[in-house]
């Protein structure tokens, strides 16, 4: 079985490692870099708990090999709050609107919302639910999550698209 030297950027810091060919990116982040905010739910790409940003776009880290991330810019949920610990608007809104209970799906949801708001400045409820359809939540019934996203959109002052 092959081993590979990879160089990548994770949450703004460059890092190098030698990894087995079959090591999943999710496991590399969690076990090698100790970034356990990214969660592993189904390991076959349907639940979205492992969602991260790869070169600015969401991706399921359980469906990528660490070797494929060579040269990539990775952002995980650990990078979302400010350096001073101040919560990102979506994090605060999820708390305010009961958008999480056990929190297992939450990091994946946060990364999806970040790409959503980068792509569609003022999504309405239909667009939000469509974007979130790739993230499964067992606890909340989704309404609190949708309310949180709508609250972030509203407070950003943009008109719905």
């Amino acid at each position: 079985m092959s081993e590979h030297r990879i160089q990548l950027h994770v949450n703004g810091k460059s890092c190098e490692a030698t990894v087995p060919g079959r090591l999943l990116l999710a496991d590399f982040l969690r076990h090698h870099l100790k970034l356990t905010g990214t969660h592993v739910g189904c390991e076959h790409g349907v639940c979205g708990a492992c969602t991260i940003l790869v070169d600015g776009r969401t991706a399921r880290s359980c469906l990528m090999l660490a070797s494929q991330a060579d040269g990539a810019k990775i952002e995980t949920v650990e990078s979302v709050a400010g350096a001073d610990g101040k919560l990102h608007p979506i994090q605060q809104a999820l708390i305010d609107h009961h958008g999480l209970q056990c929190g297992f799906c939450t990091p994946g949801i946060i990364m999806t919302v970040i790409e959503m708001l980068d792509t569609v400045p003022a999504p309405d409820e239909t667009v939000i639910r469509d974007w979130l359809s790739g993230n499964i939540c067992r606890c909340t019934g989704y309404n609190g999550i949708v309310d949180a996203v709508l609250a972030v959109v509203k407070s950003s002052g943009k008109a719905p698209s």
Partner: protein
């Protein structure tokens, strides 16, 4: 679950990839990984070698001589947002909005979807509707183009040799203003369709002059329904008997499995076809 051990290799050029494909035994090609990685993680496949082609210069979208040329490793998300595709093959855009989820479309590729060849997948269905040509290449025999109608040999098995790589998909475009629609039925958003219908319509002086109707999810491959197409052609767009035209769509053989019985799939095919035909005609009239 984690994949069984394999040797991972990432060639820098198509030639190198082809050389690897023709010399390595037990090799699978990895592009976007959205279909293959789940199978690897669950150990449904256990290749000895994984050839990562995601860095090869096989992506890009161009319009040439009335055909859209889409590189095999072009990400589905890039196709969905391509102005060329939105203008010349809007059926593709409608289909892509139903493919998986945003996260899977960010990585998934068109070539990968075609090689995975899930019978209910949207991209093979629209490629069949548009009479795509699938261009493949091997180190020993060079390039050949396989018409979509000949691309599927068995369940989830495309007609490519072990040493061949899909490099490009070519789609002849339909006339400006053509009508299009894709209807599918799945129990949950993002689930594989139990049945789907993709329709393209061209009008000439309010008469349907050209029609393509494909049913997905019933047979091992998306199936063009020639009888429905023949029933549509020649009808005045304001007086089409949609139900009668859609009826043959429910008559193809369908698979029965834990998701749905054959009869239910056939019923769904008829209904999806009716809806898609009505919507495509409506779009063509605007």
């Amino acid at each position: 679950m984690k994949p069984a051990p394999f040797d991972y290799v990432r060639p820098d050029s198509v030639d190198e990839a082809l050389r690897l494909l023709s010399t390595l035994e037990g090799a699978k090609v990895l592009a976007g990984g959205q279909s293959l990685m789940p199978m690897l993680n669950m150990r449904f496949v256990q290749p000895d070698h994984l050839i990562d082609i995601s860095r090869l210069d096989l992506n890009g979208i161009q319009l040439q001589d009335g055909r859209l040329h889409i590189g095999a490793t072009t990400r589905q998300r890039d196709i969905e947002f391509s102005p060329l595709v939105q203008q010349h093959a809007p059926l593709f855009v409608e289909a892509l909005q139903k493919v998986g989820h945003v996260q899977t479309r960010n990585r998934g590729t068109i070539g990968g979807s075609l090689c995975h060849m899930d019978p209910s997948a949207e991209l093979p269905t629209v490629c069949m509707t548009m009479d795509a040509d699938i261009v493949v290449r091997s180190a020993e025999r060079g390039t050949r183009a396989i018409p979509m109608r000949e691309f599927v040999v068995a369940y989830m098995t495309p007609a490519i040799e072990l040493d061949e790589l899909v490099t490009e998909i070519r789609l002849p475009v339909w006339a400006r203003g053509h009508g299009y629609a894709l209807e599918e039925f799945a129990r949950r958003h993002g689930d594989f369709a139990l049945a789907s219908a993709a329709v393209l319509i061209e009008l000439s002086n309010d008469v349907i002059s050209r029609a393509a109707v494909t049913i997905g999810g019933l047979a091992i491959a998306p199936t063009r329904i020639a009888e429905t197409e023949a029933l549509l052609i020649g009808q005045n767009c304001a007086q089409v008997d949609v139900e009668a035209a859609a009826a043959p769509c429910g008559e193809i053989e369908a698979v029965s499995d834990t998701q749905a019985s054959a009869q239910y799939r056939q019923q769904l095919a008829r209904v999806m076809a009716s809806r898609a035909i009505a919507r495509a005609i409506d779009r063509a009239r605007r």
